[in-house]
Amino acid sequence: MLAESLALTAALFIIGVIGVLVHRNAIIIFMCVELMLTAVNLTFVAFSRFYGPAGQVFVVFVMTVSAAEAAVGLAIIIAIFRHRQTINLKDINLLRG
């Protein structure tokens, strides 16, 4: 089941990448990043079956980091919305030269 897990991981990760590139809604982009993190977790679990339980420990760390990232990122989105009344990335181009 290792090869199947890795293929599924690759497919999910790339769907996440395509979502980040295609969408303009900041919240959906964040959800695509979460999908990418989860896909990587599947790799860790699949390998931990053959290389010992350390992979599962790393999954715990990845989950913690993604929870922290979601909290900070959504707070940034709320702050942006408070200033600009939108979260469409088309309208948030202050740093574009």
Binding site: M1, A3, E4, S5, L6, A7, L8, A10, A11, L12, I14, I15, G16, V17, I18, G19, L21, V22, H23, R24, N25, I27, F30, M31, C32, E34, L35, T38, N41, L42, V45, S48, R49, F50, Y51, G52, P53, A54, Q56, V57, V59, V60, F61, M63, T64, V65, S66, A67, A68, A70, A71, V72, L74, A75, I76, I77, I78, R82, I87, N88
Partner: protein, 183 residues
């Protein structure tokens, strides 16, 4: 290296894999954030089933509790808080050129990953075949993770708590708002 699996196991593995893939495709093609979030929850659930089938029961439970439960609820809370239902906010996808570029980038990444998958795995790192089953019987599903987490990775675990504290403080500072009269 891989043991032989019964047909029942293989069938369910492929079933949950296909569910995860299909609902992630449905997730990425939605325009409404709420529908996208619900499809993502579906993906997380089927991934949790896959974790359980891969002998990682505790990780499966964590996946349901943390991802499908907590993180997605936070996302839906933000959607509700910002009131993103009206149609002008929903027309968010980029044009055809961007979709083409995204598809090409995806194909490139996929081919790279497939090339990497062709390489041989280092055999000398492989644990004995029934090692994980023995660990599960000896230490339970929680103990299998808790033993390395609190022995080998204790420093990383403690640093994670600092990371969470910083993230909470940052979220509170960012989300607090300047004053009441802003509205």
């Amino acid at each position: 290296m891989e043991p032989h699996y019964p047909l029942f196991y293989v069938f369910h593995f492929y079933l949950f894999g296909v569910i995860a893939l299909a609902s992630s495709i449905a997730f990425v093609t939605r325009r409404s954030p709420v529908a996208a979030a619900l499809w993502l929850v579906n993906t997380m659930f089927s991934l949790a089933a896959l974790y359980v089938m891969l002998d990682a029961q505790f990780i499966g439970v964590m996946q349901v509790l943390v991802y499908a439960g907590a993180i997605m609820v936070v996302f839906l809370f933000v959607v509700m808080l910002l009131n993103l239902g009206h149609p002008s906010e929903l027309a968010d996808a980029r044009g055809t050129g961007w979709k083409l570029v995204a598809g090409l980038v995806g194909l490139g990444l996929l081919s790279e990953i497939m090339v990497i998958l062709r390489t041989k795995l280092p055999q000398q790192l492989v644990v004995p075949r029934d090692f994980n089953e023995l660990q599960l019987q000896k230490l339970n599903a929680v103990g299998t993770i808790a033993e390395p987490l609190f022995k080998d990775y204790l420093l990383a675990f403690e640093l994670t708590s600092v990371l969470l504290l910083v993230a909470i403080a940052g979220a509170v500072v960012l989300g607090r708002g300047r004053s009441v009269r802003a509205r």
